[in-house]
């Protein structure tokens, strides 16, 4: 269990967190490759249905950031 990593779907606001994830790349920060980013135009776009869909499709966790 110790090396278990959660599979994460992240919904990132185009204007802030998505850009921050871009900058993490520019700065060559490293993080585990078990996250898949879905770009949304604003966290206002986030619907509970998206979180449920991500969990249904096999994700262990959902991360909304904006």
């Amino acid at each position: 269990m110790s090396d278990w990593e959660p599979k994460i779907v992240s919904f990132l606001c185009n204007w802030c967190s998505y850009g921050a994830a871009d900058l993490a790349g520019v700065s060559r920060m490293e993080y585990p490759p078990n996250v898949r980013v879905v770009r949304i135009p604003c966290t206002g776009r986030m619907s509970p249905k998206f979180a449920l869909a991500a969990l249904r499709e096999g994700a262990d966790a959902v991360w909304v950031s904006g």
């Binding site: 994830a21 993490a24 585990p32 898949r36 135009p41 776009r45 986030m46 998206f50 096999g58």
Partner: protein, 919 residues
Amino acid sequence: MELLKHPRYVDESKCIACGACAEKCPKKVDDRYNMGLAKRKSVYVEYAQAVPLKYAIDSQSCIFLQKGKCGACQKICPTNAVDFTMKPTTETINVGAVVLAPGFTPFDPGRFDNYQYLNLPNVVTSMEFERLLSASGPTAGHVTRQSKDHGEPKKIAWFQCVGSRDQNKCDNSYCSSVCCMYAIKEAVIAKEHAGDGLECSIFYMDMRTHGKEFERFYNSAKDKGVRFIRSRVHTIDPTPDESLNVRYVGDDGKAVTETFDLVVLSVGLQTNPAVVELAKKLNVDLTAGRFCATETFAPVATSRPGVFVCGAFQGPKDIPQSVVDASAAAEAAGEILAPARGTLAKVPEKHAETNVNGQRPRIGVFVCRCGINIAGVVDVPSVAQYAATLPYVEYATDNLYACSQDTQDAMAQIIKEKNLNRVVVAACTPKTHEPLFQETLIAAGLNKYLFEMANIRNHNSWVHKNNPDLATKKAKDLVHSAVRKVTLANPLTEAELNVNQSAMVVGGGISGMAAALSLARQGYATHIVEREAQLGGQARNIFQTAKGERIAEKLQEMIQAVGNEKNISVHLNTTLTQVDGFVGNFKTTLASGGSQTTIEHGVTVIATGGKPYTPEEYFYGKDPRIMTSLELDRKFMANDPMIAKAESAVFIQCVGSRQPDRPYCSRVCCTHSVDSALQLKERQPDMNVYILYRDIRTYGEKELLYKKAREAGVIFIRYSSEDKPKVSVNGGKINVQATDHVLGWPVTIEADLLTLATAVLPNRDEQLATFFKVPLNEDGFFVERHAKLGPSEFATDGVFLCGLAHYPKPIDESIAQGKAAASRAITLLARKKIFTSGQVASVDPMVCSSCGVCVSVCPYSAPSFIDASARMHAGKAQINAVLCKGCGLCVASCRSGAIHLKGFDNDQIFAQIAAINWD
């Protein structure tokens, strides 16, 4: 103008910012951006957000440029962008106006022996502390001591006014305006990061939180446990563990020694000596504090015609004020350049668009190697091969650089040859490169919304370089998601809308007139609507400016200029009764003396001003000698004998401001009272003049006025909000009782004049707010689009804001904001047509239940109900595509699922999620 351009030794047109050069560069130097707290290479980008994101070589430290050996960057660069042969170049350009925005330099506290900044590692400047707090800084936002223990500080002290309000140790007698607020911000953020265990103390002289919402922030910092100590620290002594013993005198006059783990010096703003030289070269005048000299009624004009100024070079100021200035300077330059507008514009070539409606999706996938940036980690050919197996993908390939011009040309060719109707590019981030690829689609005859990017560089190869297998798997997932999303994409249209080439300014005060004159001088028909019988607003009641200019004369000039301006129509005694329409096409009904007219206009500027608070305290209204600041100004203007007869005058500050029910600072009153006190002293040098205050907030170079008042013998007595002065009138004398803050004893002053520095109140015009769909804050001021970056406009397109309706401010700032609001409005008017984004929300009226959630949640006022008398879909919601920003809030909020966001519709996002292969 002749410009000298220093070489960057990297060809901007070739550099793709892959960073290979910086990785190879053997030379490490102090990173100036991180205030020397971290190292960078000799070839570098200044900071991660730099625009353009292109590398440069620092010639002072580069081994090759200094010694002729090395050249490692040149060898590794995949695009041959490094060019050591570059030389400085000069360029001559012809311009009609110049805007100076050279900014400021933080004060260097190294020369202060008492703070020992150069010797003690745990004494840092506020700029260094900013970098320590920053997530992208040298400690990734984790505050540590700078001594070798790198321990977590438990007690941090801020010292205010380091290099400001100080003539003894440096030559900066002005207030830097921003340090109080940034120190509070730093303390609050540090506490948020470190938790309640961190003690933060701010040593200050006067707490100057005079900006919009700043007083609330100050109050909340106190609630969060930030300690405020009114004292100027004279000595710091190091302890054996490199902590710092701080010796100061407390409010009670007793000496205290307290130990802190870290001391932050809140350094002031000053003009760089190189900028002083530049000013000489350009022949523009400076002030005593070495800022650019300007006049109150022309706040962004330098002493040289055609040369304008904005930002901290005009005077120490914060971001919102700098942004206001910037727009104002652009407007001032625009007045000169208006006749030349559009003469250098190029019209883009139009391409016919292929109709793809009803076609089966035919997707092309282009996977970029980005040199080794992606291909060094991700197995790019296997990603392209995988893409080719996905449904509807007709063509998949990999490219060395997808963004290069030859690839773009090839891409357009392939789209045509293979009859592709949708495109996916797997490369870097859509935030920088989507527009470029969309141009290629347009050139190939495809609608630009039939496009999707998969971010396999910034979100993948750059951050998973030690995990190539999983990075390749992730790249395949991201490509699959993009393919599934673009499969469901539809061509979107961008509606076109004409902008009515005229403006309405609501309010004929100083800021409204400044806005109207700006609009008119740039050639736009402008209506000023004023409810009073005359123009001028509150300025009619004010005697003189902080710089000593007589307002009545200047105001008269301004009113005359408005009257002489052929583009301005003034509507006096007029109110608004109805507003229809939106950006570009407003229709406003005006009422005046029983008659109504309707005016069509493209933009609206709200400049409805403010009003003085009428005090209920301090015996106001019961004795003619007790008056407000504006009433004293009237007496100055009328040369009232009451002033000549008075032997003693008292001012009480913060009357109605900084109270629990009105928790904001009115910004102008300290300077006003200090100026009036000086005026009294000038007229009657023997008069005893007292100012009872809580914090003197003469920010910027207004501090010099405060100094002058002290020198002239004006006596300043501080009071606390718990122990306010008491006023009584007996036997013909006004008695003002207060506690002397130095002695701690009660003092009674017999006053012949008592002036109450009353708050500036907003008009709280709720009807106007409803008319233009713009918000008011708790205090009743209008809420701008963005507190820092959009101070002169609303979130609702086409509506702009200036003057006291935004927040209390003096005349120079009101005029600057009037010009700024006009400047922002002109960016719309000058376009003549606006194009909406294709990615907007739309309502399916058959499903809409008319619940109104979309109407109430939208911050941009885009949704509305279809008129009840409409033939179709009466009472259902509709969305104005012109106002919609495509945020999707209404879509997520719609209980009926009636709203769709084009380009980000539910089915597209579900498809993206479903495409992820978690096995």
